[in-house]
């Protein structure tokens, strides 16, 4: 940004004079390690307007030194900072408000760490970063046009926020009203671009100098990566990016990033929780985003085995192996005397039910799912990050022992506390639960198998058949179910063997539909490096919000098997409108479709296989006969193994 007092006397719009670029010095990290070898930009006077200067420059400078903007551009330094932060990719849609950063990234930064990934929609860029993080635990950044681009990105940012996923959003903005180009760039400028996402980002800033930027980027990374994780936004002035480095007396440095340790539960509260769990006859653990890393799942197994208590995995992460005999569906809490929730997004909804039956003046009926004396324990870091506007904190639930702490970080001390609290008597009582638990597990599995075979040969293909045909083909690979959009009646969690953290990456977070397609591509990009086989169950409604991400997958050669759950509807909404029609005692108007007007994706049917093909995918469909699914999957898997994305357009049952 130009000096507000005009004292430094340079103006990027008039191009630069030699005076403005004198004394450019290399950026240095504060740490002594040469994290980034910085080369001082050559001292030179740029060739530029006005003609008199040009004449002088032509006489004094060799032609290869020609540069409109003298010295090292600010955006080069911005890339130096980013390169210290282990950010591998920048999935983005291009825009002039960050053209300088874009140029520095691909030229000065040699398009490595971060590598630019071409996206068709800002929502896709954010969605990719979301999926990538869950597959690797590593954060990405995305660049957006600070106004219109950020407007597109918002829903995906909200999903990341609700799903506790970190990413950095860099919005370009031409802040200086006196110098920014008129017309479009002014439409695309705002006082405070981040206002639109402030309610669902952890932090944001608008740096006004390069040194401010360096601090803010490292701070942004640090805040985003401290549990509870979350997205952060940096508004980058176009001028600050474009102008040459101009230091106000002191040398630029890059602060060293040192991770912040996550918050651990208070030791008294941990002891009290252990006491309750050990004394309980029927303790139940419910986990939602407990396992931030594979170690979280290991710790949870250790705790559950110590107590021989059932674990309900609510599925926003892979928290607990579903092959373990203590793994249970939600219903098990009905018999609980102690319920411990780990990083639950909705404790109230875990222990209460809501029936949408139109009673009580239309608001429905609430009831407890647990016995009245049930004690409750909560450990969640999200208690440290509550905002006012968006209601992701859900209904209020009174809890007996409430820790504002990261569950995974607290588990080791809780395990130790439980060990010390187990007396001989309790150890015997706990051991007695094992046989019953194993039998209950076997019964549930048998019931699920019985349910899966009903409609096994139906056309359109049943969701159970879809999932099991798919599983049969991938189970011997190092597979990763990168996303399951829409609703397939939970068959993967019920019937697949999910034992590794990367085999189930969870859901969108904020239920903003359109997450599945980009998150799958982002996670597949991560899995490509890790040698894993990525598979996605892709619903039709989800794909059509921003299908351009298919092209991104082909363009960047991201192997992904996308198997469609094409039920030809926004099916969730089919049922909602039907429900309301019934409550009002009116025949639902289908208008020639199979469900209520405005909820079906048919007449005409979308040929998703052709859509994918047009964007460089191998694709096949529509597959309606279950007997054809296995062979088609085999073909598609061979394609994906060769490094390409492949899509099967499968017509499915609604749920």
């Amino acid at each position: 940004m130009t000096d507000l007092n005009g004292k430094d006397g340079f103006d990027r719009r008039k191009f630069l004079t030699g005076a403005a670029v004198a004394g450019v010095t290399p950026a240095l990290t504060q740490a002594s390690a040469p994290a980034q070898a910085q080369v001082a930009a050559p001292r030179h006077t740029p060739s530029a307007l006005p003609p008199t200067m040009k004449t002088i420059a032509a006489e004094t400078q060799p032609p290869e030194e020609m540069s409109r903007i003298g010295g090292k551009p600010g955006s080069d330094f911005m890339i130096d900072v980013i390169k210290t932060l282990d950010i591998k990719y920048a999935p983005s849609n291009c825009a002039s408000s960050f053209r300088a950063l874009h140029e520095s990234m691909i030229n000065y930064g040699e398009n490595k760490s971060p590598e630019y990934i071409s996206c068709m929609h800002e929502e896709s860029g954010v969605g990719m970063a979301h999926g990538y993080f869950k597959a690797t635990g590593k954060m990405l950044l995305t660049m957006v046009h600070g106004t219109v681009g950020l407007q597109h990105a918002t829903m995906a940012i909200y999903n990341a926020y609700c799903d506790r996923v970190p990413l950095i959003i860099i919005g370009g903005n031409d802040l200086d009203a006196a110098t920014r180009p008129p017309g479009v760039p002014t439409f695309h400028a705002a006082q405070d671009i981040n206002a639109i996402v402030r309610d669902y980002t952890k932090w944001d800033d608008t740096p006004v100098t390069l040194q401010h930027y360096a601090q803010s980027m490292v701070r942004a990374y640090k805040i985003a990566m401290t549990p509870p994780y979350g997205p952060v936004a940096i508004s980058l002035d176009a001028g600050l990016q474009q102008e040459p480095i101009h230091e106000h007396g002191s040398k630029l440095y890059i602060p060293r990033y040192v991770p912040t340790s996550p918050p651990q539960g208070d030791s008294n509260a941990v002891r009290e929780a252990a006491r309750l769990l050990v004394a309980a006859d029927n303790p139940v653990i419910v986990a939602d985003r407990c396992a931030r890393t594979p170690n979280g799942a290991k710790l949870l197994v250790e705790l559950a085995e110590l107590l021989q208590c059932p674990v309900v995995d609510q599925g926003n992460r892979m928290n607990f192996p579903n092959t373990h005999y203590l793994s249970r569906p939600a219903g098990v809490i009905a018999g609980a005397d102690v319920v411990m929730g780990l990083e639950l997004s909705d404790f109230w909804g875990t222990v209460n039910s809501f029936t949408d039956n139109g009673e009580n003046g239309g608001v429905g009926v609430n009831a407890s799912r647990v016995k009245p004396q049930t004690k409750m324990i909560s450990i969640t870091s999200v208690d440290l990050l509550t905002k006012s506007n968006y209601q992701d904190f859900q209904r209020f639930q009174t809890v007996d022992v409430h820790m504002a702490a990261d569950a995974e970080t607290t588990l080791p001390s809780l395990i130790e506390a439980v060990k010390s609290a187990i007396t001989k008597d309790r150890a015997n009582a706990i051991a007695e639960r094992t046989d019953k638990a194993k039998k209950a597990y076997a019964d549930i599995r048998a019931r699920d198998m019985q349910a899966a075979v009903v409609g096994w040969d139906s056309s359109p293909i049943s969701t159970a058949r879809l999932c099991m045909e798919l599983y049969a083909q991938i189970k011997d690979l190092d597979w990763s179910l990168v996303s399951s959009a829409g609703d397939v009646s939970n068959w993967p969690a019920r019937l697949w063997s999910i034992e590794k953290h990367h085999q189930w990456l969870g859901k969108s977070g904020g239920y903003g539909v359109g997450y599945g397609a980009p998150a799958s591509v982002g996670a597949a990009l991560a899995n490509k490096e890790l040698g894993r086989f990525s598979v996605s169950i892709q619903s039709d409604g989800d794909l059509m919000f921003a299908p351009g991400v298919l092209w991104t997958a082909a363009k960047h050669k991201i192997p992904l098997l996308s198997v469609m759950h094409n039920n030809r509807a926004w099916h969730q909404e089919v049922m909602h409108v039907q429900r309301l029609s019934n409550f009002r005692n009116r025949k639902a108007n289908y208008g020639g479709d199979m469900g209520p007007i405005g909820t079906c994706i048919e007449n005409p049917d979308i040929e998703y296989h052709k859509l994918a093909e047009s964007m460089g995918w191998w694709a096949k469909g529509p597959i309606k006969d279950p007997a054809q699914l296995g062979p088609a999957l085999k073909e598609a898997i061979a394609v994906v193994k060769s490094g390409q994305p492949a899509l099967l357009n499968v017509w499915t049952q609604p749920r």
Partner: protein
């Protein structure tokens, strides 16, 4: 199940007059199952899933099923006579009752862990 309790208490008290007055047809029932939206939550074959239980080869008598569909105040929205005729419901009943028996899961290799 909450709905079965409901059925036993309500079925006894509701007067079910017209059912059985016409020959129910499984074929027409398949169409009615689609046109009236039963497929949405129960699946096109009444196989059941996350949104509604299995109806295929229901063990409920028609009277109990009718009482439930007409009067439930649980998670399923009720269908009055105005929006779903007794005739259609009887056909739907014939359709779901006529569904083939599902295979034994043990005979399906895809279901072996």
């Amino acid at each position: 199940m909450r709905n079965l309790k409901f059925i036993t208490t309500i079925a006894a008290t509701l007067l079910l007059s017209s059912t059985g007055a016409f020959a129910a047809s499984a074929e027409k029932g398949r169409v009615a199952f689609g046109k009236n939206g039963c497929w949405q939550c129960h699946g096109w074959e009444g196989q059941g899933g996350n949104a509604g239980p299995r109806l295929a080869r229901t063990q409920l008598p028609l009277e109990a099923l009718t009482a439930f569909v007409r009067g439930t105040n649980g998670p399923m929205p009720p269908f009055s006579k105005k929006v779903l005729s007794d005739e259609d419901l009887a056909d739907i009943y014939a359709f779901i009752s006529a569904q083939p028996a599902p295979p034994d899961p043990k005979t399906i290799p895809l279901l072996a862990r």
